[in-house]
């Protein structure tokens, strides 16, 4: 039964059909699958499947990324209410777009993935000053600051990730809080993330979810 559920859910997500995805989930619950199994055996593997699809299939597109993340986040949110015990949270992330940048799509995709991957996310919104990224990361106890920037000047300028790095250094937080970045300029220059002081980057929102989880896990074991 589980195999069929996974197949039908993956098909619905691939087709960006949210209603069909929820129908699969509701039918699975009605047939006795636990909320925990829906999340850990259906939803998270589907996100991981999309990650590998993106690598294999150049036709995987932004609409699929967006819907994979949205469906995963919504299903997870609903299932968490039904969990017998609260799930183990992998870590915490504060996320926003860089100062001067209002492009919010990538941020939204990353947030959806992280929620489904059991990472708590605080959305700082758009056009976020570096000081706010750091202050909120400290207040929230974040492992990672995720900064999205779609324009060259917001990705590389002095008020974006560079300033966040400087503030972390100044406050002695570099060991506790990592910086990840994403957005179009980083796709055109894959080494750019280093020059702005980030610890990692991802080419798309779905891949960013996995990269952030890996970074959190590496930080907790080091």
């Amino acid at each position: 039964m589980l195999e069929r559920i996974i197949k039908e859910y993956n098909e619905a997500v691939f087709e960006t059909d949210k209603d069909a995805a929820f129908e699969v989930v509701n039918a699975a619950l009605a047939n006795g699958l636990s909320a925990e199994d829906v999340v850990f055996k259906v939803v998270i593997p589907a996100v991981e499947e999309m990650m590998s699809d993106i690598t294999r299939d150049p036709d995987a597109n932004l609409a699929q990324h967006f819907m994979t993340a949205q469906i995963a986040a919504e299903v997870t949110e609903k299932m968490l209410l039904k969990f017998a015990h609260p799930p183990e949270i992998i870590g915490r992330v504060v996320i926003g777009t860089a100062a001067g940048d209002l492009h919010s799509l990538g941020k939204r995709i990353v947030m959806g993935c992280l929620k489904a991957l059991m990472v708590e996310v605080l959305d700082l919104g758009v056009n976020v000053p570096a000081e706010k990224f750091v202050a909120e990361a400290v207040h929230y106890g974040a492992d990672v600051i995720a900064i999205s920037a779609m324009m060259v000047h917001t990705a590389t300028g002095e008020n974006g990730a560079r300033k966040v790095r400087a503030l972390l250094k100044e406050q002695g937080l570099e060991d506790k809080v990592k910086i990840v970045v994403g957005g179009a300029p980083y796709r055109f220059d894959n080494e750019l993330y280093k020059t702005v002081g980030a610890d990692g980057w991802a080419a798309d929102g779905i891949a960013a979810g996995k990269m952030i989880v890996d970074l959190i896990r590496a930080g907790k074991t080091s």
């Binding site: 609409a63 819907m67 209002l102 324009m151 590389t156 055109f188 220059d189």
Partner: protein, 349 residues
């Protein structure tokens, strides 16, 4: 031959001394005139003067009438533009904050009577008078399927598109398409002759094949039908779109393609040529340099890339060398090296 003659020769496949060389210098105009971005973009005279001065200094073939992309949102009531001194102005506040706002949205009956058009018209008038007879004048027009991103933000637009009520989505698209049809006519009437049709949803990078066919293509047809495709350049906001070129040529009849630096230029040229092989056909492959790399490339690396692109593009003709939106962080020396190399390797003698 004038730059305009050279462009026409490249499109029609007739003899010319070199390929056309486009360089999209926009925000650099403020620096050129020693102004802040806000001051620079306040007046059409400034933008025209900036374009003309940069054009004289660098010697590229085209001038632009574009102020900044978010300007189109001003026609729908946006009055908050976020300026930066090191990059492009951005929409600072979206006019659609909730789906309810879509019902209140209106397309002006005559966009050329709007304050948002006045400075663009001034800019175009100056460009037309100064260089209209000799140089291509570019305009930037956002497709109906992408305009909602300027009005409500890309994530909210994606949400409405993918999960919202179809009638509301179509109403918004209808307004955006009406606006596009007016806008393209206004630009043509004002003297713009290279009309860059910015359509990120017209690529499989944004939407899959099925949605491209069922959603993007019908709306693009609707945008372009009344005015035709004369001077229209297919551009997907730097996203690769090689796989849709056959459909764009066959169904929309667009013959000029501004190929993404992330795409295989040789493949794009092959696809375009295979569709337009008959003698006398007008078409153009625009090879676009990765101008984010231009920020850090050495002069030798710049020259090598320009040479590589020209070697791919020149055989068989119908080729233009171009740039993306040229971030301000690109050193001026690299702009000069790039253009010198494009003229050298783009020679057709």
């Amino acid at each position: 031959m004038t730059p305009l003659d050279i462009l026409v020769a490249a499109i029609t496949g007739t003899a010319a001394p070199r390929i056309p060389v486009f360089c999209n210098l926009l925000d650099q105009g403020a620096r050129e005139l020693g102004m802040t971005q806000r001051e620079y973009y306040r007046k059409g005279e400034h933008v025209a003067e900036g374009q003309l001065k940069m054009n004289r200094r660098f010697g590229h073939d085209n001038v632009w009438s574009l102020f900044y992309v978010g300007k189109e949102a001003e026609f729908f009531g946006c009055d908050n533009i976020l300026y930066a001194e090191d990059g492009s102005p951005n929409v600072g506040d979206y006019v659609i904050k909730s789906w309810d706002d879509i019902a209140k949205l209106q397309v002006p009956a005559d966009i050329t009577a709007q304050p948002a058009w006045a400075e663009t018209a001034t800019c175009l008038k100056i460009l037309r008078e100064e260089v209209g007879a000799t140089q291509p004048i570019c305009a930037y027009l956002t497709a109906s399927t992408s305009m909602p991103a300027l009005l409500m933000g890309m994530d909210k637009w994606m949400e409405l598109l993918m999960t919202g009520p179809a009638d509301l989505r179509d109403h918004l698209l209808d307004l955006c398409s009406q606006f596009f049809q007016q806008e393209v006519a206004a630009y043509r009437a004002a003297g713009a002759n290279v009309l860059v049709y910015s359509t990120p949803f017209g690529t499989h990078y944004f939407v899959g094949k099925k949605r491209f066919e069922s959603f993007s293509m019908p709306w693009m047809k609707r945008d372009l039908a009344p005015g035709g495709v004369g001077g229209i350049v297919y551009y997907c906001g730097m996203a690769p779109f090689n796989e849709v070129i056959p459909a764009v040529m066959d169904e929309l009849d667009i013959a000029i393609h501004y190929v993404s630096p992330l795409a295989d230029l040789a493949e794009a040229k092959r696809i375009i040529e295979s569709r337009r092989r008959q003698d006398g056909a007008a078409y153009l492959t625009c090879g676009v340099i990765d101008d984010i790399q231009l920020i850090k490339w050495t002069p030798d690396e710049v020259r090598a890339e320009v040479r590589r692109m020209c070697e791919i593009g020149k055989p068989g003709g119908h080729f233009l060398f171009g740039t993306g939106v040229m971030p301000m962080a690109i050193p001026e020396a690299n702009i000069k090296v790039m253009l010198e190399a494009a003229f050298e390797y783009g020679a057709l003698s």
